[in-house]
């Protein structure tokens, strides 16, 4: 009896273990329920867990799924595949490498469309899109300046291999240069009259109510030139001394001294430290140009003067918009690249005594007027990464062959209508919330919907979302879908100061930086790979050796040291990349 019992117990245990192992196999069918058609869709980033745990619970998506689509008026469901946070690239590689991919792929992280088409991973939509996506086609017709971005040239034939998200306008960016405006007002003096400045918050509860009479040496109320920055650094030094800050500094920079997309490098005559297209349409490599040398000379001087963070080269794991975040948020840094959530008085949250009364303002990348030769001076920065007029590409893969693509494409086409674009960009209206009684909206104070319609027909973001730092807005709208992203027709309720700071971050348009644009998106797999290998080697050399220039281990003013640097870069073969990219730069425009 005892033996039998043991056997039975063992069998039950074994079965349970086997079942638990098998439970992980196979995919869930998500919201398929009673839908006529179910599709799978990979998105690189999903929901904010603070609001819901499954992207299928997205309120705007659920509203859209109530409708029927396609010529046969079918209902549909989507099963989202969302990678764990931070592992999207790995997840994409594994998925595509294994051949087990879904019907729709978010192209935020993907191979070039030409390569995916060539290898049979994605479908040719040239005939299907005009048939099932009239609103998308209408948008392209009405915007001839971006129409070409919906097509790919395959052996001289125009093909539609993807659906593109369209941006109504260029949107503000989320981060940029910020500086302690309150320090300038408190410790600075008018460069012309020598009189002390004054500045204060007019409403202590409003972080954007700062007013002052600050004037910079260049004559305006915003820092425009490198000389304005150096003037500020002298004031920051005074401020830190007066406030007893011993472990602060005037400015932080990204750990190698540059970001490869340009930004500060382009302040010294334009272009980026790696590859860019100059204003004459020629592909250039920036790190051996006088512009980059001027940047190194500038940072070397600032480092020697103690203005630059003396440990900048050690902050290798910090994001470019959150360098030495702790010290910055403690109010011990004068100028940094920060987030929109740090603008105005938003950092005055009692983190330290030095943030009491803090006011940070946004600034554009400066124009060099001090360092290098004349080619490096008085040129507006022109290599910056902003939102363009087109967004993510979306692919229908060969996994969807045999499925009803008319229904799927009609569903996507809905987001190119005004109603759909609102769901994608903002979320539900008041009427839609009343109709659906969506719990996420009701629980988070969005009873009146995500927006209201103003008299002029534009949309005003709900006050709850105006104060939101981003999580709720993303949870309320169905952003992860092709469609039109509304920009200019939305009033986000920004205060004047706040909007001015954000506008300064996008003061100079990008004219030369092409990474991620059509110029690099249509290269062949072989070209992309070879460029990537050279890129990796060059960047590796630069991240080790640029800090040496800045910290004075090598001298950027010395021709010998500079020539050694240039020779090494040449040896890594940057010219080969120039030659590969040039035909694409000739063919495609930088958006």
């Amino acid at each position: 009896m005892k033996k039998t019992l043991k056997r039975v117990f063992g069998a039950v245990l074994g079965t349970t273990m086997a079942m638990s192992l098998l439970a992980g196999c196979g995919g869930g069918d998500g919201t398929s329920g009673n839908a006529d058609e179910t599709y799978t869709m990979w998105i690189y980033s999903g929901q904010d867990a603070a609001y819901y745990l499954d992207y299928e619970e997205n309120p705007a998506l659920q509203y859209a799924l109530q409708k029927k689509y396609g010529p046969d008026e079918k209902s549909l469901a989507i099963d989202f595949w969302v990678p764990p946070s931070g592992s999207a690239a790995d997840n994409y590689s594994t998925m595509m490498g294994s051949g087990d991919y879904p019907d729709v792929i978010d192209g935020s992280i993907s191979d070039a469309p030409t390569v995916m088409y060539e290898t049979g991973q994605i479908m040719d939509l040239t005939e299907l899109i005009p048939q099932y996506m009239p609103n998308y086609m209408k948008y392209l017709e009405e915007h001839p300046e971006i129409e070409h971005k919906a097509y790919v040239d395959i052996d001289g034939e125009k093909k539609m291999l993807f659906i593109r998200t369209m941006n109504e306008d260029r949107d503000y960016t989320y981060s940029g240069v910020e500086y302690r405006r309150d320090w300038i007002a408190k410790y600075g003096t008018n460069p012309e009259t020598g009189e002390a400045f004054s500045g204060e918050f007019t409403d202590e509860d409003d972080p954007d109510s700062w007013v002052d009479d600050v004037v910079f040496p260049s004559g305006g109320s915003d820092p425009i030139y490198i000389s304005d920055w150096e003037w500020m650094f002298e004031i920051f030094d005074k401020a830190m001394e007066a406030e007893g800050i011993t472990d602060g500094y005037c400015l932080s920079v990204y750990y190698p001294g540059f970001t490869w997309n340009g930004d500060f490098t382009s302040s010294f005559g334009g272009g980026s430290p790696l590859w860019y297209e100059d204003l004459d349409g020629k592909v250039q490599f920036g790190a051996d140009k006088p512009q980059f040398r001027a940047l190194m000379q500038c940072l070397n001087t600032w480092y020697k003067k103690g203005w630059l963070d003396q440990s900048f080269n050690q902050r290798t794991s910090d994001a470019h918009y959150a360098i030495d975040d702790t010290t910055t948020r403690q109010g011990k840094v004068g100028l940094w690249v920060g987030l929109e959530s740090q603008l105005g008085g938003r950092m005055d949250v009692g983190a330290s005594e030095y943030t009491e009364g803090i006011c940070s303002y946004g600034a554009p990348w400066p124009i060099n007027d001090v360092y290098g030769d004349e080619s490096c001076k008085n040129v507006e920065p022109n290599a910056v990464e902003y939102t363009g007029l087109t967004g993510t590409t979306w692919y229908i893969t060969t996994a969807a062959e045999g499925k009803d693509l008319g229904t799927l494409l009609s569903f996507f086409d809905y987001f190119y209508t005004e109603e759909g674009a609102l769901l994608k960009s903002l979320g539900l209206s008041k009427e839609q919330v009343e109709e659906t009684q969506n719990q996420i909206y009701l629980d988070n104070g969005l009873e009146n919907g995500a927006y209201s319609v103003k008299e002029d027909g534009t949309y005003l973001l709900d006050p709850v979302l105006q104060k939101d730092s981003g999580g709720l807005a993303k949870a309320a709208a169905f952003t992860m879908v092709p469609g039109i992203t509304l920009v200019s027709s939305v009033d986000k309720g920004y205060a004047e100061n706040y909007e001015h700071s954000k506008a300064l971050w996008t003061l100079y348009p990008n004219k030369t930086f092409f990474q991620g644009s059509d110029v690099t998106s249509y290269m062949t797999e072989e070209e992309t790979k070879n460029n990537g290998n050279i890129h990796a080697k060059i960047l590796d050399y630069m991240t080790v050796n640029a800090p040496n220039f800045i910290m004075g281990k090598t001298d950027p003013y010395d021709d010998g040291d500079w020539n050694d640097w240039c020779k090494m870069l040449e040896k890594y073969g940057y010219a080969k990349v120039n030659d590969v990219i040039q035909p694409y730069a000739d063919k495609y425009e930088i958006d």
Binding site: E118, T119, Q314, K529, A536, K537, D540
Partner: protein, 317 residues
């Protein structure tokens, strides 16, 4: 009499596989998961070594990618920083195989001398604990302790050493010492388990007889305990020689920075940067590097095993 003394070896009757399975099927069933695990997770992925000889493309797959022969190996060996990475790998592996290897043995021997059983158990338990802390957490602790405001930095400053972020110091042998000490701290207790077990099997009679003959505890330690566990030490060393060349470098990836590449960049980290950083996705180079490291490690393993056997010590195979 002599013939009687000879042990008579009785061979077990040979059973057919079918018969053996019928009689011992529960054993086979128990073995099956381990067999499948090894087959699926250890042997099937070996097919991926083909990538080392291909211009591998995810889109084209393993059997559709372009065959490039030894080009990936040429790229690897002719890389500007390859020899720096190889040098650091050899140095760090050697440190792990020497100082890092001796420490757990010493710890096990010291433990064997402790008479208070409760104290011994508590010490052992505490020494195992760091092994269960994730590498990321250990590195975060090290970064905190050794930063320019860190506790250890402050302590060292009391002895006249400069206040600095020690992990950013490129001078020899700062990084190597930090990495070695971190490894010893994390692996000391866990690494000593085998030796503690081996020491426990040493006959108490030997110690008793030696004690009666007047041997001191230290003499017994060196004349009885150490010789008795020598086969275990040799076996662990042979295994360690191979493993130390290919394992444990992931923590370096978390700890190093461009200013310390000169002393901290290893084959593992160098390959990672060349293959996956800055938009590159060079699986071929990565696999070539992995294969190279495995071949070197296997050669070291076989070589040290052969030397051990030649010197009359025990060997793995």
């Amino acid at each position: 009499m002599a013939a009687k003394a000879k042990a008579v070896k009785v061979a077990a009757p040979k059973l057919s596989w079918k018969r053996d399975f019928q009689r011992n099927w529960p054993v086979y069933v128990l073995f099956l998961p381990a067999f499948l695990y090894t087959l699926v997770l250890n042997y099937t992925p070996l097919v991926g070594l083909l990538m080392a000889f291909e211009n591998y493309s995810q889109a084209r797959g393993l059997f559709g990618s372009q065959w490039v022969g030894f080009q990936n190996f040429i790229d690897l060996f002719t890389g500007e920083e390859f020899f720096r990475a190889l040098k650091n790998t050899v140095i760090i592996s050697t440190l792990k195989c020497t100082i890092g290897f001796i420490m757990p043995i010493g710890f096990a021997l010291v433990l064997s001398l402790v008479r208070n059983k409760k104290f011994k158990r508590i010490t052992q338990t505490f020494s195992y604990m760091p092994n269960f802390i994730a590498a990321v957490v250990v590195v975060a602790l090290v970064q905190n302790f050794l930063s320019d405001h860190g506790a250890i930095t402050m302590l060292l400053a009391k002895f006249g050493l400069p206040v600095q972020n020690w992990l950013a110091n490129p001078d020899v042998p700062v990084f190597w010492v930090i990495y070695l000490v971190m490894g010893i701290w994390q692996g000391l207790g866990w690494g000593s388990i085998m030796y503690v077990s081996a020491i426990a099997t040493v006959s108490g009679d030997l110690h008793e007889a030696a004690a009666i003959d007047g041997a001191t505890r230290m003499q017994r330690l060196f004349k009885i305990t150490l010789p008795c566990i020598r086969p275990m030490i040799v076996m662990m060393f042979v295994i360690g020689v191979g493993i130390n060349f290919i394992a444990g470098f992931d923590t370096i990836l978390l700890m190093y920075m461009p200013s310390t590449y000169e002393v901290a960049d290893t084959l593992y980290t160098y390959t990672y940067r060349m293959a996956f950083a800055a938009g590159a996705s060079n699986y071929g180079l990565s696999t070539a590097s992995g294969l190279f490291q495995s071949i070197v490690a296997t050669t070291l393993l076989v070589g040290s095993n052969a030397i051990s056997r030649k010197m009359g010590e025990s060997s793995l195979f």
